[in-house]
Symmetry: C2
Subunit: 409 residues, 2 copies
């Protein structure tokens, strides 16, 4: 089978460079390569690309492009019934083809796989086991593929993550808030997601690492171009225990547009976004707006009204209905996570416990029995790890086992 | 005519000690004395006292007490139709009589008038020209009388006032916020109302005085007992250019209950209440709750989340829907005062102008003509002063005169 001009051997070589094909069949493998190709054809959030890939599959959509199919014929395949809407769609596709054609070079795809292989990046697509499903809430604006450097565990923990963002121009107050918030949420078993920028973002990542927590950075360029340069070592550390993720392929440069689109990924991948310190026009307000548009909770930490560095947080509270949050407990409340808060909650349970124990306790209910598999799913841990921790908790008297499963003591 | 055991000559003597009878007839004079008597019978906010005085008039209600009327017969006079409700009302009155009887001493009334005369206090009742009508929104909990030391002008300006309150335990940040807020609002022609406590309240009064603005203090005890003692000189200064007001007669001590009830007067007398800095359990939150219960706008100024002194403000924003306000402009927006904000507004108009000029400019409309009387009513100034200021503004080109009145240039 040939796709995008590639021999099967070359497909195998490319995929093995980025962690293999996850056991996919020939058509799954073609889809993987085609999604990788699409991830460099359109800019992030390209609605028309999202539509075609969703409706036709990435490989089929790419073949139509390569075969020189007309916009009208592509539109007819996307939606054979909607005659009226099809004219508008054909017009969108016509404009999109003009954007995509200059990038339709198979050599670039090969090079991006090679660069990914060199830096140890993997390719994820929506069928991948580790794909962060929450980003699919972006609909036609969802990423087509994700390039990832990092641990499986960190990707699993995205299901229980918080976006902590803020301005580059941080004050010592803002940095203190970032350290306390990130360390406190990490200690409660939340993965800390941010954008690796100087200032607040960097401090959020660092505090999570310092407390042994999980942290994930979404980048605006390729994961082989760690940006900003001054955070190269920090990002290498994040990639070792957490994850560094981009929707653009390796080699891609960060641009202003890509930073704004990267913000939508932080908002979508997490359960809530909290802006820790931000000036009136900080880019972190953009992340908050994406989160609000997705219906995700948004929190903002207030600061002195005499500090311009807090004006953006106050603006979010005043104009955008962001919740005023002043402590880690109030950030956890953002999710309305009944299980996390039940029974006096996080604080009491967190005393002297490892973060794995806290995560298993959080995943237990005081009322209903849950199976180890269910607890594994909720905690974002493996079933084997969960069983080990449950054994420890049972000895402590913190968890109770019955025939039908486990519950909080 | 004899009321409460007083000869007419004694009534005349008492009333002349507190600024005369405002030209009232005999029944109006009796009502004045009776309201003064009621102001020491019940504690502030006594619902049953408010009901009887509203339904029967203060003099009639007092005569029934003095004549030893039964609770049932008083209830029947209050509401002859509502047979069912009357039993509950009679029971209320029965309990109230037990509270009031120990205080039913005509000597105390005489002494309170004498004390008021000595400190230059006047007696206001709802019929008085200078009565702050906004407090009537308290319904049966409205004050029955007010004892006032201060300028007519200050009482008139209560119609355009803001309550600025906060904790005694203020930080330098909170004091700075109080100074900026009070001075800024005073410069925009707002009277600054507060409770004369140490900390935020005192700073709000001082900043208003320092900028030549009007400030009004509501006290929990009598206006002859300036409390707290350390603010004696401050309160004397407020009484000279602004006003010091209490609903309890001279000689009354401030008590915890009276402080809480005093807070409802600050909330009711003003167009909005702003909490500038307050800890988690600050009494100023009580003022904010009263304002919210009255449907008055409530603002709270955020501060560092690391400062316990701002925890009450954040609590108001989080739990009580208080508006997060970070500047004088945002405080003015609380009122939704279209005229104040119209045409680029307060800031531009305030440059290099006296506070009287600013108040007249605020009272002018750019669209519609207004008469000097109307401008006097809106600005809380006398018509004579308004005409003087309008002359100045016309020379500056800031105000335009036409046959039908004046408008903003």
């Amino acid at each position: 089978m040939r796709r995008f001009g590639f021999e099967e051997a070359e497909v195998t070589r490319m995929l093995s460079a980025v962690g293999g094909d996850d056991g996919a069949d020939a058509s799954g493998r073609a889809e993987l390569v085609a999604r990788a190709a699409w991830s460099m054809l359109g800019e992030p959030g390209d609605r028309t690309a999202g539509l075609l890939v969703t409706a036709l599959g990435a490989a089929m959509a790419l073949d139509l492009l390569l075969d020189g199919a007309t916009p009208a014929s592509i539109a007819e395949r996307v939606d054979p019934d909607a005659v009226a809407g099809r004219v508008a769609l054909a017009s969108d596709i016509d404009q999109a083809l003009a954007r995509w054609r200059p990038r339709l070079r198979s050599g670039a795809v090969v090079r991006s796989f090679e660069a990914a292989g060199r830096c140890g990046a993997r390719l994820l697509v929506p069928d991948s086991a580790l794909w962060p499903e929450a980003v699919d809430d972006l609909g036609v604006h969802a990423p087509i593929a994700l390039w990832v450097r990092g641990a499986d565990d960190a990707l699993e923990r995205l299901g229980r993550s918080v976006g902590l963002v803020g301005a580059r121009a941080a004050t010592s107050y803002g940095e203190g808030v970032a350290i306390d918030s990130s360390a406190g949420l990490a200690a409660r078993g939340f993965a800390i997601v941010s954008g690796a920028a100087y200032g607040i973002d960097g401090m959020a990542h660092r505090a999570a690492l310092a407390t042994g927590g999980t942290t994930v950075a979404f980048l605006a360029g390729g994961v082989d171009r760690l940006y900003p340069a001054g955070h190269h070592d920090l990002l290498e550390r994040i990639a070792r225990t957490g994850a560094v993720i981009a929707e653009l392929p390796c080699g891609a440069e960060p641009t202003k547009w890509r930073f704004l689109q990267r913000n939508r990924l932080i908002a979508a991948a997490t359960r809530a976004t909290v802006v820790l310190e931000a000036g009136w026009r900080s880019g972190s307000l953009n992340t908050a707006h994406h989160a609000a548009a997705l219906g995700r909770p948004v929190g903002a930490v207030p600061g002195p009204v005499t500090s311009a560095a807090s004006a953006g947080c106050h603006r979010l509270i005043r104009e955008c209905d962001a919740r005023c949050v002043t402590s880690v407990e109030e950030m956890v409340e953002l999710f309305g996570d009944a299980d996390t808060l039940a029974g006096g909650g996080a604080d009491a349970a967190a005393e002297g416990r490892s973060s794995d124990e806290i995560r298993v306790i959080d995943a237990l209910s005081a009322r209903s029995m849950r199976s180890p598999d269910e607890i594994a799913r909720r905690s974002g841990m493996s079933t084997a790890s969960v069983l080990g921790v449950l054994g420890m908790l049972a000895m402590d008297g913190a968890a109770v086992r019955a025939a039908s499963g486990w519950r909080k003591a």
